[in-house]
Amino acid sequence: MKAPIELRSSPHVKRGVSVERIMRNVVLALLPICAFAVWQYGLSALALIVTVTATCLATERFFNWMAGRPGTLSDWSAAITGLLLALTLPPAFPLWMGAVAGFAAIALGKALFGGLGQNVFNPALVGRAFVQAAFPVSISTWVPAFAPGRFAEFIPTTFTLPLMAPPDISAWAKGALDGFTGATPLALWKFENQVTPPDAFLSGAATASAGETTAVLILLGGLYLVARRFMDWRIPVAVLGSAALAAWAFQLWDPARYPDPGFVLLSGGLMLGAAFMATDMATSPVTPLGVWIYGALIGVVTVMIRYFGGLTEGVMYAILLGNALVPLIDQYTPPRVFGDVKGTKP
C-alpha cells in the first residue's frame, strides 16, 4: 500500500515558538510573585492560590468535556488565569468565594466566547469583577502582611463555609499587627488624604491583594517576558506612562490634594495589571498605533476612577473597558501596507 499523500503547502519549516511555550513562560514569570505572596500572607495565600487555580483548571476541563473537544489544559492558559486571579484577590478571601471567582473567570470570561483566543475580556478580570459584585464585603476585607503566625494558622475567613457569611476579622487583624487599620493605601489616600511612602510598596508591607505589593518582582517578571519576546513592552509602558502623566498633571494643578505619580504607579493593582493583564494577547490590540492608544486609555481611566469614582481602585474596570474597545481600536488603526503610496485604509 502506498503511503497516504501528505498535502501540506509551504512553508515546510517552523520556528520553535508555540502558544504552549509562551503561556508556560508567563506562568514562570508569575511564580515568584506567587511565592512572595505566600511569604507575605502565609498558609491562607497558598490555599487561595491553589484553590483558585485548581478551580480554573477544573472548569476549563469541564467545558472541554461539555464541548466534546480534546483537553486544553496543556496550553497553560487556564493556569495563567487562575494564578492572576488569585493574585488580585485579598489574602483573606474565603476559599469557596475564590472557587466561585475561578469558575466565573473561565466559564463567563472564556468558555462562553469559545475558548482560547476568542474571549473579549481578560478572563481573570471577569472573575474578579464577578466576585467584586457578588461579595463586596469579603473583597474589601484586608489583612496585614507578615503576620507572625502566618505559617502556623490560617486567617479565620479562609475556611468560611459556602454560602455562609465570613466571620468579622477586624479584631483578629488588629491582634496580628498592632495598629492595623484594614484600609488599603488607596483608601487611606482617598478618605483620609494620607499618602503611603513608596518603601511600603517595595517591601510588601502595604495592605493589598495577594500579588499587588511586589513591584520589584512584577517588574522582573515583565522584563523576563519582554526579553524573551513573549510580551509587548509597549503596553505596560503606555499604561504606566499615561497614568504617571495624568497623575503628574493633577499634582501640578493641586499638589495638596493629589498624590505624586510614584504613589499612583505603585499603589493598588496598577503594576500587576499593566504588566500581566493589559498585555493579554487575545484581549489587546495588535496594530502599532492601537497598542499605544489602548495602553494610554487604561492608564488615564485608572487614574480617573481612583480620583473621581466611587471605588478606591480602578485598574480592573479600566482594563475591561480597554478590552471592550480593542476591536474598534484595531479597526481604525490599520498600519499602512508596504507599497501603499496613497495610504488607503481598510
Partner: protein
C-alpha cells in the same frame, strides 16, 4: 558605501547552505530519456511543433510560443520524439501536463547555432529571438524575459538589479553560479543594460555568501557594476524587497518595480541570456541544487526535462528514511508528488526530507492574536485579520486588508505560535476570489447576450409591424375611392393602431445605457438634446428661407 534600506519584518530560518556548497557544479550525464513539459513559464504554454517519431537535435524548437506571454521550449538532446502526451510535472497539484517525451540517441548532436550580434540588432528583433530561445526568469517565477527586457516606449529604467540574494534556505544554485561563472553573469547583465538603456547595475547578494560576493566583486571591476552585500534576512530576495533594500524605492502595491524605474533579474537569468546571445544556445539546461537527506548533496547542471528520480540518483540517491521531496525552498516550495516529474525552468532546488529536518506540522491551535505574524510580514499586512476573514469566507474583507499584496513568502506561518497554516488560507481566499470573478464575468456575458437577444427580437417585431403598416397604408391609398367603405374605415383604424404600437415598441427599445444616469450625465444629455433640437429648428428655418 551604498546606504541600504531595511524592509519591515522578515525571518531568520536556519540556512542549511553549507550542505550543498562543498563541491563545484557537476554536469549531469546524458540520460536515455527526457520529459519536457510545454508549460515551463508563466503565461500560455508553448504549442508542440513535433510529433511522435520525429527526429530532433539538441536546441531544436519543440514548442512554439503561443500568445504574447509565452516562450519557446527546446529539445535537451538529440533523439527521437516518443510521445507528446500528459505526464506528471512538478506542480503542487500533482496533475499531469502536456510534455514532449524524447528518447535520446546518445549522440547529443546540436542544431547549428550562431552568436547574435546584439549591439547591431534591432531591439525588438533581439527580444523576439530571446522569446523563441525560451528565456524566462530562472529565480522561480519563470516570467518571459523578453517582456521584462522591453523598456516600453516612454518608460525610463535607470537601475538594473541582479538578484543574487538567494534568501531561501537550502538553495545554493545561484551561489555556485556566482562563484564559478561571475564574469559570464556580468556579461549577460551588460546585454540587459544595453537593452533596457539602464545606467546603473547593482548586484544584491546576501552576506551569507562571502565567496560569491568576492567572485562577483572581482569580476565587476571596471564594468561599472556595483556588488552589494545585503543582510541575510528572508525574504530579502523578493523583487520588491531587494528593490527597496538597494535603492530605497518603494514599489507601489499591485505595481511592478519598473514603476519606480528598476528592473530586477535573477543572476541565473543573466547567465542564460549570455549563453543565448554569445553562443546562440537556447535555454535547455539550468543549475539545480540537490540537498537534504541525500548521499552527495550538491549542484548539478541539469538539462530541462530530466526526471527528478535521475537527478537524485546523480546525487548518490536518497538516504534511508527519506520522507519525500520539496521542489524549491522550504519557505515557498511545494511537495513533489511523483519522482518521474521532470526538472523545468522554474525548479531551482530539490530537497529530500527526513523526519528530523522537516518534522510533521503540529496541530493548529486557535489564534491568540499575538501579532507575531504582523511583525514578520514583509508586505506589512495584518495576517491574523486576513486569516480570520479568509476562514469565515468574508472575501470582501480580505481584499480590504490587502490580500493581493501578500507575496506568500510564508513568514507569518513560520512564526505563528499556534501553527496555523496561514498562507494556505490566503491561497484559498485568492483562488476563491479568482474563481468568483471568473463566474461573474461569465454571468455578465450571458446576461448581456440575453439582453441583446431580447432587444433583437423586439426590434424584429417592430420592423415587422412597421412593414405591415406600410403595406396597409399603400393598399389603403390604392383604394381611396372606396373611402366611405366601412371595411376601409376598419382597416384604417387597424393601421393607426399598428402605427401606434410600432412607435411604442420603438420607444421601449431605446438603448439601455441612458437609463438610471447620475444627474450630471443626465444634464449633459439634456443639454445635447436641446442643442440638437435648436440645430434642427435652425436647419428648418434655413430650409424655409431657401425655399423662399
Amino acid at each position: 558605501m551604498r546606504k541600504l534600506h531595511a524592509f519591515n519584518g522578515g525571518v531568520h530560518p536556519e540556512g542549511h547552505k553549507g550542505e550543498s556548497t562543498g563541491r563545484p557544479i557537476e554536469t549531469m550525464p546524458l540520460l536515455p530519456r527526457y520529459v519536457v513539459p510545454l508549460r515551463q513559464h508563466i503565461g500560455e504554454p508553448a504549442r508542440p511543433v513535433v510529433k511522435p517519431g520525429d527526429r530532433v537535435l539538441r536546441g531544436q524548437l519543440i514548442g512554439q510560443p503561443e500568445g504574447y506571454v509565452s516562450v519557446g521550449v527546446h529539445a535537451p538532446t538529440s533523439g527521437r520524439v516518443l510521445a507528446v502526451e500528459p505526464r506528471p510535472v512538478p506542480h503542487p497539484s500533482g496533475l499531469a501536463d502536456l510534455c514532449v517525451v524524447i528518447d535520446s540517441d546518445g549522440e547529443d548532436r546540436t542544431v547549428e547555432t550562431a552568436p547574435l550580434d546584439w549591439r547591431a540588432m534591432d531591439p525588438s528583433a533581439l527580444r523576439n529571438r530571446l522569446r523563441e530561445m525560451g528565456l524566462a526568469g530562472l529565480g522561480g517565477a519563470v516570467f518571459p524575459s523578453f517582456i521584462k527586457l522591453n523598456p516600453g516606449a516612454r518608460r525610463h529604467i535607470p537601475i538594473l538589479i541582479l538578484n543574487g540574494a538567494e534568501c531561501e534556505p537550502w538553495i545554493t544554485c545561484d551561489d555556485l553560479l556566482m562563484r564559478e561563472r561571475a564574469a559570464d553573469i556580468l556579461a549577460g547583465a551588460e546585454i540587459m543594460r544595453h537593452m533596457l538603456g539602464t545606467e546603473e547595475v547593482l548586484v544584491g547578494i546576501e552576506d551569507n555568501k562571502p565567496e560569491a560576493i568576492a567572485a562577483m566583486t572581482a569580476a565587476a571591476g571596471g564594468r561599472g557594476v556595483e556588488v552589494v552585500a545585503i543582510a541575510s534576512l528572508y525574504p530579502g530576495g523578493g523583487g520588491k524587497q531587494i528593490t527597496y533594500t538597494l535603492t530605497g524605492r518603494v514599489v507601489p502595491a499591485g505595481g511592478l518595480s519598473t514603476d519606480v524605474g528598476v528592473q530586477v533579474f535573477n543572476v541565473g537569468t543573466a547567465y542564460a541570456l549570455l549563453r543565448a546571445i554569445r553562443d546562440g544556445e537556447p535555454l535547455v539546461s539550468r543549475i539545480v541544487t540537490v540537498t537534504g537527506h541525500v548521499v552527495r548533496p550538491g549542484n548539478f547542471e541539469t538539462r530541462l526535462g530530466t526526471p527528478v528520480a535521475d537527478l537524485l540518483r546523480a546525487a548518490g540517491g536518497e538516504l534511508p528514511d527519506a520522507t519525500g521531496q520539496i521542489i524549491g525552498g522550504p519557505m515557498m516550495g511545494f511537495g513533489l508528488m511523483d519522482e518521474a516529474a521532470p526538472i523545468t525552468k522554474s525548479v531551482n532546488c530539490v530537497i529530500v526530507k527526513n523526519a528530523a529536518l522537516f518534522p510533521a506540522a503540529p496541530a493548529p491551535m486557535p489564534c491568540i492574536r499575538c501579532g507575531a505574524c504582523a511583525r514578520a510580514c514583509p508586505a506589512e499586512l495584518q495576517p491574523f485579520e486576513l486569516y480570520w476573514y479568509a476562514r469565515t469566507r468574508d472575501f470582501g474583507k480580505t481584499q480590504t486588508y490587502h490580500l493581493f499584496d501578500c507575496i506568500e513568502c510564508g513568514c507569518c506561518s513560520y512564526v505563528c505560535p499556534s501553527h496555523i497554516p496561514l498562507v494556505e488560507y490566503y491561497r484559498f481566499a485568492k483562488s476563491e476570489i479568482w474563481s468568483r470573478e471568473h463566474e461573474k464575468q461569465a454571468a455578465d456575458q450571458a446576461r448581456e447576450r440575453h439582453e441583446f437577444r431580447a432587444f433583437r427580437l423586439e426590434r424584429e417585431k417592430q420592423e415587422k409591424a412597421e412593414k405591415l403598416a406600410k403595406k396597409a397604408s399603400e393598399r389603403l391609398e390604392g383604394g381611396a375611392v372606396a373611402a366611405e367603405d366601412p371595411e376601409a374605415a376598419r382597416k384604417k383604424a387597424l393601421l393607426q393602431a399598428a402605427i401606434a404600437k410600432a412607435q411604442k415598441a420603438k420607444e421601449a427599445v431605446r438603448p439601455k445605457n441612458v437609463d438610471n444616469l447620475p444627474p450630471d450625465k443626465q444634464r449633459e444629455i439634456d443639454a445635447i438634446e436641446a442643442r440638437r433640437a435648436q440645430a434642427g429648428q435652425a436647419e428648418q428655418a434655413a430650409e424655409t428661407e431657401a425655399k423662399r
